[in-house]
Structures are given as structure tokens and as C-alpha cells.
Amino acid sequence: MQRRKRGRQLYHRIVRWLSVAALLVAIISTASYGSGAHTAVRYLDPPMGAWWNASEFAFMTVSAAALGILVAIGAGLKLVAEEAVRRRVAIASIIVGAIIVAPLASGMAAMARLGWMAEGGLAPYAETSIVDKLLIAGVYSLKIAGFSLIAGLAMVAMVAAVIVPLTRVVPSREALK
């Protein structure tokens, strides 16, 4: 009952829908980037294809980062007690998350490009088959989402550190005498 009540909260629904939207955009842009689908779009509508070619990487990195942040917010909220505190933490986290998502995406995209320490045998991206390209793009997106999840959890921790003490339950005078 309590769960269902909580599930109806607007901020919960916002986080859930934003997560689904970020996941969909991440899947589509990653698949498109990995398969070079912009050529098909170019064939149907050249200006649109050129725009998509120039933007798909940004879509892929920002949506993966947004997904990581949103999963962190969703998980973080489950750990916070008290509806009043949770609502404030949710709203503040969504706002801070929206502010940091673009710079975080470019930072995490750079971090996800760092090699595994024993790497050396992989063929350059341009020379691999389409299946390998899809796989590489998928792992790249997953790494961005994973690193962003950690950054997102740190953000929720920071927001909770500020919000929890501000949402005071006023103690009775007796207790403070």
C-alpha cells in the first residue's frame, strides 16, 4: 500500500519516464552510431542525414550520462526516509542533474575512451566489422552510463547532505531545555 502510494508520486514518475526516454535515446543513437545508420537517413533526406551524422555522438553520450544520473537518483531516493525529505532531494537532484549532464557527458565520454590497461590487440575502430562496431559503441555507452551512475550517486549524496539538515523536525522545547 505504502509502496503504491509512493509509486504515484509525481517526482517518481518523472524520474521513471525520464529514465525510459534516456534509455530509448541511448539505444537508438548507439545503434545508429555503431551501424553508420546516418547514411540511410542521408539517402532519404540529405540535410536531415547530415544533421543526424553531426549529432548522433552527442545524443549517444548525453543520453547515456543522463541514464546513469537518473538510475542513481532513482536508487538514491529509495534510500532516503521521510516523504518531505525525499521530495526535496528528488527535485533538487533532478535540477542539479539537468545542469551537470552535458559537461558530465563529455567528461565521462573522455574517461570511457581510456583503454583497459592491457589493451593492445584491438583493431582500429574504422577497420572493424559492423558487429564489432556495434559492440564497441554499446560498451562505450555502457561505460559512460556506469561512470555517470557513480557521479550521480555522489550528486545525490551531496544533495542529501544539504537537504536533510534543512528539513528539520522541530524538537519540542522540553527536549531542548
Partner: protein, 168 residues
């Protein structure tokens, strides 16, 4: 360092400053929790009356929560900068990051859930519901402390034994 002499340009580098802040954040987070668990709480229990003890304890829980959660955020920010300075991701780092996720989750639970409920339950002084909350707060705190110690141990290997734990 060259030939044992201090190499000042290297000693004053941005990389060392970031690592210094990273390690300082560990000291602040872990030191605060250890002091509260092993020094402050036993003394409060033995020296203060229940009403005064709870007044002090609830303030400590709040203040410590702020310190630990902010330190963890600083650790993540500086940790990511450290990764850029190292320029590679090892298997050891991945293990460390999984543990970091667990630690941050537990710390949020400890302070924004159990701690907040302690704050609420103690607003009118001692209450029967307080004791289980306090013991859960302590248990979660000890788990967080132990995991942080494990992370510190693993971190020592990040730049010292990279070959042994790399992904290949």
C-alpha cells in the same frame, strides 16, 4: 624525484594536489566515523544522562552525516580526475568502483534514512524506538568503515601493481 632529492615542480603538480584532496577526503570521512563510533559514543553513554546524551547524539549524527556525504562526493570528483592522470582503467579500479557504489549507497541510507529517523524519534528526548535505530546506525556505520578500509587497501595497488590486475 631524482637521486633522492626533492623534485619541487613534481611535488607541486596539479596531480599531487588532486591526490592530496582525495586522500584528505578519505581521512575526513573515515576519521570522523571512527572517532564517533569508538571514542565519542562510549563516552557519551557512560558520562551523560539519557536526555543530555540524546541531545548531543542527534546533533553529532546530523553533523557527521554532512561531513561524510560531502567527503564521498569529493572522493568521487577527485577520483575521476585521478583516473585521467593515470590515463587507463584497470580491473582493480573497476572492483574499487563497485565497492564505491555500495559505500555511497550505504552512507546515504545511514544518514538520510536511519540518521534522519533518529533525528525525528529523538525530537522529544529519549523514546523506546530509538535504541534499535541507534544500533542499526552503528552497524551500517561499521560496514561502511570496513568497506572504506578495503577500498583504501585496494587503492594502494592502483599505481603500484597495475600489471598484475589489468584487463587482458
Amino acid at each position: 624525484m631524482s637521486g633522492g632529492a626533492l623534485d619541487f615542480p613534481t611535488m607541486l603538480s596539479m596531480r599531487l594536489l588532486v591526490l592530496f584532496i582525495h586522500v584528505t577526503a578519505v581521512i575526513v570521512a573515515l576519521g570522523g566515523s571512527l572517532f564517533s563510533t569508538f571514542a565519542l559514543t562510549p563516552i557519551l553513554n557512560s558520562e551523560l544522562e539519557p536526555v543530555a546524551r540524546i541531545k548531543v547524539m542527534r546533533r553529532v549524527v546530523r553533523r557527521l552525516g554532512w561531513i561524510v556525504l560531502v567527503s564521498l562526493a569529493v572522493l568521487v570528483a577527485t577520483g575521476m580526475m585521478n583516473v585521467f592522470y593515470i590515463g587507463a582503467i584497470s580491473r582493480l579500479l573497476m572492483v574499487k568502483l563497485v565497492l564505491v557504489i555500495i559505500v555511497i549507497g550505504l552512507a546515504i541510507y545511514q544518514y538520510a534514512n536511519v540518521g534522519a529517523r533518529i533525528w525525528q524519534a529523538s525530537s522529544d528526548g529519549p523514546s523506546p524506538g530509538l535504541a534499535p535505530l541507534v544500533s542499526r546506525f552503528r552497524r551500517v556505520g561499521l560496514t561502511v568503515g570496513s568497506l572504506v578500509l578495503l577500498i583504501v587497501y585496494l587503492s594502494l595497488g592502483l599505481t603500484r601493481v597495475p600489471g598484475a590486475l589489468s584487463i587482458g
